[in-house]
């Protein structure tokens, strides 16, 4: 549960998806959970280069995250460290994105891990998910 994995099948070739993920123009068009604007997008897409993105949500709140590119293999794979600006979550985490060419275009596998710390990531691998899912059902009954 302290890592999050999402998969999307996208009707676009991997190079187009990769550029959408890494160019400021691309990022400005999708980054953020609602239709609020991206206020700033900077990327230096090479190993050791940094990114910084700031966006405003429709409720007026502004959020900024930044990090370092750890792996850059266009158009297949991107890994970067991740940290929210401010006190929202002071921990550094890891974002990994894999793009696989498919008949319809691209299968994108997104993972955000180390969301709390190394220990909790390990326990995730041990199958923590099941136990927490049960607890979650319990909680939603209350």
């Amino acid at each position: 549960m302290t890592s999050l994995t999402l998969v999307r099948r996208i009707a676009a070739r991997p190079s187009i998806v990769f550029d959408a993920l890494t160019t400021p123009d691309g990022i400005a068009c999708w980054w953020g959970p609602d239709a609020g604007p991206v206020l700033l997008a900077e990327t230096d897409v090479r190993i050791g280069g940094r990114f910084r993105v700031r966006f405003r949500m429709l409720d007026g709140s502004e959020h900024e995250s930044s990090g370092e590119y750890l792996e850059v293999v266009r158009p297949e794979r991107l890994a970067m460290s991740w940290r929210w600006q401010g006190s929202e979550d002071p921990n550094e985490s890891l974002v990994e994105i894999d793009l696989r060419a498919s008949a319809e275009g691209t299968e994108l596998t997104f993972t955000h891990s180390r969301l709390r710390d190394e220990d909790s990531r390990r326990s995730h691998e041990e199958g923590w998910n099941g136990a927490l899912d049960k607890l979650q059902r319990h909680l939603s009954r209350n």
Binding site: R8, R13, D19, W30, L115
Partner: protein, 117 residues
């Protein structure tokens, strides 16, 4: 916010251990159990179980109440709820962002095809 993060750290740290997760899972099924009932399925001694219960108690994940000589342990859902809400915020952020990324990339693909690339 500092307290909020300290509480989350305590919650996640408490959840790292498989014995403690098993105890919580059991308390999720049964609404309250005695310490000796909780200790039974584990190949560890009672003092070790007590230590795990101390960690869970410190994290606010359980409550203990004593009636006569029996200590009853119950699940205390609030810290778990907070931890899940914290994780759900990440899920919402990425799930919606990736939907928008997909829509954007598909528009770019359509444009590229129209211009014959």
């Amino acid at each position: 916010m500092v307290n909020y993060n300290a509480q989350l750290d305590r919650t996640f740290a408490a959840l790292v251990d498989p014995t403690r997760r098993a105890i919580l899972a059991r308390l999720e099924r049964e609404d309250g159990a005695s310490v000796s009932e909780l200790a039974k399925p584990f190949a560890i001694k009672l003092p070790a179980v007590m230590k795990h219960l101390d960690v869970l108690d410190d994290a606010g994940l359980i409550t203990r109440s004593k009636v006569g000589r029996t200590v009853t342990v119950r699940l205390s859902p609030e810290p778990m709820r907070a931890a899940m809400e914290w994780l759900r915020r990440y899920e919402r952020f990425w799930s919606r962002s990736l939907d928008r990324l997909a829509a954007y990339a598909e528009r770019k693909e359509a444009e590229a095809r129209k211009s014959g690339r």
